[in-house]
Amino acid sequence: MTQFVWLAILLPFLGALANGWLAFRRPQAKGLVSIIGPGVLLASFALSVAIWLEVRAGHGEATRVLLWQWMPVTDRLSIDLALLVDPLSTVMLLVITGVGSLIHLFSVGYMRDDQGYARYFAYLNLFVAFMLILVLGASLPVSFIGWEGVGLCSYLLIGFWFEINANSDAGKKAFLANRIGDFGVLVAMFLIWWHVGTLDYGRLATQAPAVLPYAGSTATLIALLLFLGCTGKSAQIPLFTWLPDAMAGPTPVSALIHAATMVTAGVFLVVRTGVIFALAPVAMEVVAITGALTAFFAATIALRQNDIKKVLAYSTVSQLGYMFLAVGTGAWAAGIFHLVTHAFFKALLFLGAGSVIHAMHGAQHAAHVHGDAQDMRLMGGLRRAMPWTFALMGIATLAIAGVPPLAGFWSKDEILAAAFVRGGGNPVYLTAWILGLLAALMTAFYMARLMSLTFMGRFRGGEAMQPHLHEAPWIMTGPLVVLGVLSAAGGMLNLPAFAGGSHHLEHWLEPVTKAAAPYMDVLEMPHGMVEILLVAGAVAIALAGLAFGLSSTLKSEPAAPGAAPPARGLVRLIEGKYFVDEFYQRTVVRPTVWFSTTVLWRGMDQFLVDRMAVGGTARIARGLGWLGSRLQNGHVALYVSLFAVGAALLLSALVGG
């Protein structure tokens, strides 16, 4: 089946075409769309499972599937459209098509009443096709098709309800922030090709160490440029501001693109090009500390958000930070492990939030109440109306908070352990570890707060709405149940020895990660007493955070929107999201627009070039014309003689002058 891996891409692509056609021709044929949209995904998932089994049978042997020559430019630059099936891409393949299928199914219920139902599935299918190209690409340029393609779909889906200006703004912002990162990826590709002579992952892994000196400036530069791309795609400092805005899209989109798959592409890329990062220890430190800082700061912002999706958005930024902390320590498998478990529990949280919003929206509609369906201050007590959603989101909350034995506990624990080990001899990693611990505490807190505000206490949305609150239909809760099971048991993928496991995922990825191994210090994971202490500490932090979060919100009800006095000091800073957006607006966006308008366009183009240079030339020409008109005084003899002289000059020049 591995040879047919392209079908996994082609199917969603054809789905996108079919749904796109339906969007124009039969926008009301929702039944057909509901079959095509999730259907192609399920087929892709089935194929992925078959491929996974084959890779497993082949002990992780990589297979390169050549589709056609993409850019056969010269002997030294010939880029194939080729796919790479190996343990890493197989993991991604399963997550994308698996979680993707569930989210597609959920969308059937969630988007049922939307005008743009077919268009929605066209975009969503197209997204999956590009995401699969990203992870399956056998070279940087091929992955780059997917890399930018998912950006396109993200743009289209964030701005899905394009008639609201803020949504269109958010879509554009996302694409532009991503493009800043893509600048880095492009220049990195140029550097790699001129230095290593290939852009193919396989050859890169073997040839890069031969030409790029360890800790040399070139390797560092390439790694940092690649990482710039990752900060864009995976919403890390300094390019994270687009992700919270991206919540403008439909909630299943947030689950699929802005939590489970696309935003993790940066982590994937670092692992994919791990050799180059391993050759650049400074870049590794940058990756780790950026990840840790992002994990920390995003978590602080999540503490004070009142929009349920915004909390989850900052939580995603924060969790992505953990993944970068992991890969920055060289714990590649831990990064991928957290990527997978996060895909489970964060998709669950977003879809659960989607159910809540769906219910709130429906109730508002039925009761003719106008309000924000995403504001947690207007929720509360929803556990009675939505027991399934409550229970399943509860599982996800425990998972992300790091309560054993749920999925998030294992993956987060491994990341923190790796940072702790590296921190032994390196203050950068030590700082990263401490930031990671603090972020873990806050994670538990803001999640408990979210659950409490949403589901506990009394309903604050008004009497009128209360009777209209309902659990979502089975097509929505069904996928939640599956994700709930995965969030609970996902840790099985990579259980450590003390829990009776054998680090299955880590061994699975070894054929990929071993290329970088010779250039990294071995991560001696702690054993015995230290290990027990670390684990116990992590559990204590998680429980403490949960307890704080619950107690602080259960004791006093939140003020109604607009009723609270304006915050001051640190709280104001956090509620204002550190005013990063405002900062960028003032220092980058507005100056650029001003400079382009006033200096370049009006000043340079219109004044200097057009008025002064061209206008000046025209005046000179007019002067000459005046001189010429003096000569045109009607003396035919003069004309003729001038003409004769000119012609003679020209001829004599021609004939041998």
């Binding site: 969007a23 056609w68 993409w70 850019m71 056969p72 430019v73 010269t74 030294r76 630059l77 340029p141 780059f144 098709i145 890399w147 930018e148 393609g149 396109l152 743009y155 289209l156 701005g159 394009f162 008639e163 200006n165 269109s168 879509g171 554009k172 694409f175 532009l176 493009r179 800043i180 893509d182 600048f183 492009l186 220049v187 590709m189 140029f190 550097l191 090709w193 001129w194 230095h195 002579g197 030409v211 790029l212 070139t218 627009v593 382009s596 308008t597 370049l600 366009w601 340079m604 183009d605 070039v609 057009d610 061209v614 025209a618 020409a621 020049a653 021609l654 004939v655 041998g656 002058g657």
Partner: protein, 519 residues
């Protein structure tokens, strides 16, 4: 296919037929009833396209020499001949012209309602001129075609343009005419110099090229004269200010022709004449740096200026300046990859900018405005137009998988070895190009529907779909499978690089960690 083409002697008559057919049709347009004018133009364009497509197969990609050549005496006394022929570069430009023409004629079906005879006659004249420029292998013949284009373009803008058309048309003519005059002087001077040395006075391209060593002493002056003519046409910063005016005021057909073909004549001129004739000067370290810097300046500068344009056409015009900068950068990047990329950008820019101008023209026909502020939320009332525009915009932005990426990527990666810092600077345009096009897209097609005048604009009709569809298909096709084109242009690019190689300051090589990327 090839056997069939050979059996009908295709290679002997095709170029002449392509050149003469539009000319023969002009009197027909002028004498037949007015309503027939557009039909004649369309039929000629389609016949030419069908006939010309054979070139794709008949052309031998592995043959480095000019193909389909003819050499007939014309003004023998001065060594002027009717000499034509094509290589991979001209092949692509000829095909691009052939494909554009029916679309342009068809797009003008309704929009041109005054002086139709004149309009379509001029379109035909334009066609001969465009093709002639790309197939001429005689400097005099080339010059004739080059100037021939100026006249119909002037009238197209000046007669069928919008409000400020006369200013724009005059600016266009003055700018390009000054450049061309210098080129004529340079051509004559060149022929003289070579003649003195070899005793053969001939305007034949081959003859001049093979004896171009003679020109080295005067290379600086000659190059500057040629370069000025071409730089205006491309246009290279700071000779670009005629373009926004010309583009904006021209009717759709004129804008498209300008963007797709006429600008490429400038870059074609650099690749075919200005650099190969005077490589020692053109590729010297200083001149190379100046040209590359001007190219990058144009790329970034024009993108920034495009971002703040209130007029859609003006925005796209500036985007053209930005894209064409890539071609210049690729030429001076001086690797086979970068030159291949430059040719690819020439083709891709034609498709995407052509399509953008078509769509803007369709909007203009409906609303008689190009002001971005007059629109908003159009995706609701014109979803197909919105889709076509978004696809085209992303093609222009350089989304990989669509055509725009291939050329820009090859130019950048190919030129990086020689000008790493400049290329890095040029690469920042991926942000700005997205900024100007997405911002425009948003303000025209997304956002709240505010202007009630837009309510009845209606979506694309069948004719408009038919005009845009070939371009959209081309974008995807080139984006995913550019191989057939790259293979047809590779020999030309390689030939060019081999010719100029001895004059390059130092050629960086790939995979050499000590030298690559830095000199």
């Amino acid at each position: 296919m090839n056997a069939f083409l050979a059996s009908i002697g295709y290679e002997h008559w095709i170029l002449h037929l392509l050149l003469i057919l539009p000319m023969l049709a002009i009197p027909l347009v002028l004498v037949m009833p007015v309503r027939m004018a557009r039909w004649i133009a369309l039929v000629v364009a389609l016949v030419e396209l069908v006939l010309g497509l054979g070139l794709w197969w008949a052309f031998d990609p592995s043959n480095p020499a000019m193909q389909f050549t003819t050499d007939l005496p014309w003004i023998s006394a001065f060594g002027i001949g009717y000499r034509v022929g094509i290589d991979g570069l001209s092949l692509m430009m000829v095909l691009l012209s052939l494909i554009t023409m029916p679309l342009v004629v068809w797009s003008s079906w309704r929009s041109v309602d005054t002086k139709q005879r004149g309009f379509f006659a001029l379109m035909l004249a334009l066609k001969t001129g465009m093709l002639g420029v790309f197939v001429a292998t005689d400097m005099f013949l080339f010059y004739v075609f080059w100037e021939l284009l100026l006249i119909p373009m002037y009238f197209l803008i000046g007669t069928w343009g919008s409000s400020n058309r006369l200013y724009a048309a005059t600016k266009f003519v003055i700018y390009t005419f000054i450049g061309s005059l210098l080129m004529l002087v340079a051509i004559v001077w060149m022929v003289t110099l070579v003649g003195q040395e070899t005793g053969v006075y001939s305007f034949a391209y081959d003859h001049l090229l093979n004896n171009s060593a003679v020109l080295e002493d005067s290379g600086a002056w000659l190059f500057v004269a040629f370069a000025l003519a071409f730089a205006v046409k491309v246009p290279i910063f700071p000779f670009h200010t005629w373009l926004p005016d010309a583009h904006t005021e021209a009717p759709t057909a004129g804008s498209v022709d300008l963007a797709v073909i006429l600008l490429k004549m400038g870059t074609y001129g650099f690749l075919r004449f200005a650099v190969p004739f005077f490589p020692a000067f053109a590729l010297s370290k200083t001149v190379g740096l100046v040209m590359a810097a001007l190219a990058v300046m144009g790329i970034v500068y024009a993108a920034l200026v495009a971002m703040v344009q209130p007029d859609l056409k003006r925005l796209v015009a500036y985007s053209s300046v930005s894209h064409l900068g890539f071609v210049i950068l690729g030429i001076w990047g001086s690797t086979v990859e970068s030159v291949q990329g430059a040719i690819m950008v020439m083709i891709s820019h034609g498709l995407s900018t052509g399509a953008l101008f078509f769509i803007i023209g369709m909007l203009y026909e409906r609303r008689h405005t190009r002001n971005i502020a007059d629109f908003g939320g159009l995706a609701r009332v014109a979803p197909m137009m919105a889709t076509a525009f978004v696809i085209t915009a992303f093609s222009s932005i350089g989304l990989p998988g669509l055509n725009g990426f291939i050329g820009e990527f090859l130019v950048l990666i190919g030129s990086f070895g020689r000008y790493p810092w400049l290329v890095a600077l040029a690469t920042t345009v991926v942000v700005f190009s997205a900024a100007y096009l997405l911002w425009a897209t948003q303000r025209v097609f997304f956002n709240r529907f505010t202007n009630p005048l837009n309510e009845g604009i209606g979506d694309l009709n069948m004719r408009e779909i038919a005009v845009l569809a070939p371009l959209l298909v081309g974008m995807v096709w080139i984006g995913l499978y550019p191989g057939p084109i790259l293979r047809r242009t590779e020999t030309a690019a390689r030939q060019y690089i081999e010719w100029v190689e001895p004059y390059l300051p130092a050629t960086p090589s790939v995979g050499d960690a000590t030298r690559g990327g830095r000199r």
